[in-house]
Amino acid sequence: MKGITKPFVCLLLCMLAACGAKQEAEQLPVYRTLDDLNGRKVAALTGCFQEAIIEKEYPEVEVLRIDNAADVVQALATKRCEAVVLDDYIFLYHSQTVKGLDYLEKPLVTATMGFCFGKNKNVELRLKFNDFLAKIKADGTYDEIYDRWMYHANEAEMPDIPLPQDAEPIRIATCSTSPPLDFIRNGKLVGFDIELATRFAQYVGRPIEWSDMNFASVIPALISGKHDMIVAAVNITPARAEAIDFSDPYFECGSLIGIRAENSAKQAAETNVGGKGILQGVKDSFYLNVIEEDRYLMIWNGLKLTALISLLAALLGTLLGAIVCWMRMSRHASLRSVASLYISVMRGTPVLVLLMLMFYVVFAGTTIDAVTVSIITFGMNFAAYVSEMFRSSIESVDRGQAEAGVALGFTPVQTFFHIVMPQAFKQVLPVYKGELISLIKMTSIVGYIAVQDLTKVSDIIRSRTFDAFFPLLMVALLYFILAWIFASVLDFIGKKAR
């Protein structure tokens, strides 16, 4: 550890310094309408309705698809694109924090949002929501909520809304990266949508079971029957309405073309290049990303979840791998071919695709939670790789060893456990360790099925603090430490066994 700390810190400081360096001044283009952006890169949320409109009406614009709104805004700020298309409230929310942004005056289109329900499923719940919406619009509650989150999002507190615990919960999919509608603060889901949904749950007298997932996953999750409704700032579009049912619109928004102020005709250039020292910068970043809002709790929970998934998947995978290995080395041709097929399918499929398949198809109708699905999926994948390691290490033990064991009077099974396995174990340990480490890192994709692991936590933090550098670096370091601990434990076991 000690040997690598120094270069690591140097690298970190260099990168910080580079970030702080002033960009060279140059002749900048001025954007007045979307037509000025022809041939330029424009970022938008993956799967949002504006994306389709731009593609159709401005075919020469190059669309950059990004998974969450904070990253879309960051892409603009860090000059990876020339403009962004976002819902107006989102852009305005973010531009309070990220300085140096502006927008084109002419809004693209207006859109409405609705909560989503399975097609022709939960009709009763949907109608109840419509009633509820009409009711709060009439009695002023809606305006109160709107005012809280649209104008005072940064200091707003979620009111305490008690829910009954004994009734059947409403299973709601959300995506916590779209403030001020859905976001996480102090480790809790908050926002306009969230409050609205919570009040609705109180209205129908049921608790809520939240699943926080990527925006791209919420609709498939609803269709697969994993959830009863979506509360995730979903725009109502005809294409979506074919697959799912929308409630009455509960929110109206326009769309904005966001640009950097330096490209704005208003030339209200007010850039945010601070002259802070590097150390102070790191300190501030640390405070912002870790201490503020008790984010370290969220990080700690994410870390625990990543460790738990890795550990249990490794145990399950090792057990399953041993079984597959046994089948693969069996005398029966049928068992052998089943094992071979399993290994080639598992090794030939991207684990992300497998994860989604398991969550949205295989376990769609069950109540098994996403963490368990992750453990099972990574266990299955791990098994395919380690079974082949087991096999080659067993085969590397000289046949004479087993013969000597049998000749001494051991049964074949005793021979395997007393003679062959201890020797194979020594052979397999180094490669097994490598595979285990790669498993830990592979679990970083569980955010796709709403598991709030270490990587997902960093996404959430980034969407709130607009600091890409520090959370990512911190998460990288945490993964490194986790992998190091796992490897050390394995080394310890290896030494003990000897």
């Binding site: 000289d398 000597a404 049998v406 000749a407 001494l408 009077g409 051991f410 020797q423």
Partner: protein, 367 residues
């Protein structure tokens, strides 16, 4: 003790190794199985403890049919030790553990009891100081002695030896044979597949000569080695081993020649005095022969049956007769040494396609 009838073994590729083997092994016997390579000696041995599954026939051990599904084969194997060509010590365990694992896990002995017996056995094979060593730290001969001790740790009633010295350096063969010899003296029942003719002759109570997938001839060592009844046995017993070396010029590699001869002598267990005399004879004979007149082929021959050693030279005819024309000898002393070492010397001219050559033969006198 063991009754083998009509034993057959055909491999899955159709190769018929054992055609029809019939044999009886009594308690206290030491049986050596000899014969040319590829005649199923090892396969037969491995069938006896079912490491190879026979294709037909029957093996009855102490009244229990080995092929019957009711027989507890692992239990029978405990009483039937086996020593392998490649030792097969358990590589991940110390020598002590190698000797204790069987008694502790299979015979239910306590670790302490097992260790006590292990030390006795290690003393018996002369390796008590290696108890804590790992197998990889031992020489081949030491490993094989440990393997024998491991067999004995299970208190077997019979030990099967599968070419116990074939994988060893010639220098290490005798230490292993020594241990087997002492076991024979203690009355241990043993079946030994071996290529060491002299050892087989000395140690065995009976010899199986295997050829063509059957026990072709069996008998006491005397019967097999002195009066073999059948033609193939006779050819095998009387075959002559030799070591050849060609000398092309006076600058030949004397050390290579000598090393080759010593290795040959060790392989066939020629005693130290014989080795010394072979070396001396070779040196003196080469003194007598001019080496600059053309190629000289040298052959050291050993007849396992008669235990006679002879040195032969094949030379161009141009060279003056070594034996007959004594007056021209440049070195009288060499000649007298050679005469002293040999019991017979012959010299003949033979025709070869490329012309006549002289063959001179020196037969080493027995000590």
């Amino acid at each position: 003790m063991i009754q083998v009838t009509h034993l057959k073994k055909t491999y899955s590729n159709g190769l018929e190794v054992l055609r029809d083997v019939n044999a009886t092994i009594q308690k206290g016997e030491v049986i050596s199985i000899i014969g040319p390579s590829g005649t199923g000696k090892s396969t037969f041995l491995r069938c006896l403890n079912l490491l190879e599954r026979p294709s037909g026939g029957s093996i009855v051990v102490d009244g229990q049919d080995l092929m019957s599904s009711k027989t507890n084969v692992p239990h029978l194997r405990q009483k039937m030790g086996m020593v392998f060509q490649n030792f097969n010590l358990f590589n991940h365990m110390s020598i002590m553990d190698n000797l204790c694992i069987g008694p502790v896990k299979l015979l239910g002995k306590s670790r302490k009891e097992a260790e006590q017996r292990a030390i006795e056995l290690l003393e018996m094979v002369g390796l008590a100081e290696k108890a804590k060593a790992m197998p990889s730290q031992l020489s081949g001969g030491q490993k094989q002695r440990i393997a024998i001790a491991r067999c004995l740790s299970m208190e077997p009633e019979i030990i099967l030896f599968d070419e116990p010295t074939s994988a060893l350096d010639p220098t290490m063969v005798s230490e292993v044979l020594g241990v087997i010899r002492s076991l024979a003296q203690q009355g241990m029942t043993m079946v030994i597949v071996t290529h060491e003719m002299r050892f087989a002759r000395d140690v065995s109570t009976r010899i199986f000569y295997m050829d063509q997938g059957i026990v072709y001839e069996e008998g006491t060592p005397e019967e097999i080695f002195e009066h073999p009844q059948k033609e193939r046995t006779r050819v095998f017993i009387n075959r002559i081993r030799d070591y050849c070396y060609s000398i092309h010029s006076p600058k030949y590699d004397l050390y290579q020649l000598q090393a080759g001869m010593m290795q040959f002598c060790q392989r066939y267990f020629l005693s130290q005095p014989v080795q010394f005399r072979v070396q001396l004879l070779t040196e003196e004979v080469l003194q007598l022969v001019p080496l600059d007149k053309g190629e000289v082929d040298l052959a050291l021959r050993y007849s396992e049956k008669n235990e006679t050693v002879s040195l032969e030279l094949l030379m161009p005819v141009g060279i003056v007769s070594v034996l007959k024309d004594k007056s021209r000898q440049p070195d009288e002393l060499s000649m007298s040494i050679v005469e002293g070492l040999c019991s017979a010397m012959t010299e003949v001219v033979e025709d070869y396609p490329e012309g006549p050559r002289v063959r001179v033969q020196f037969e080493l006198a027995k000590i």
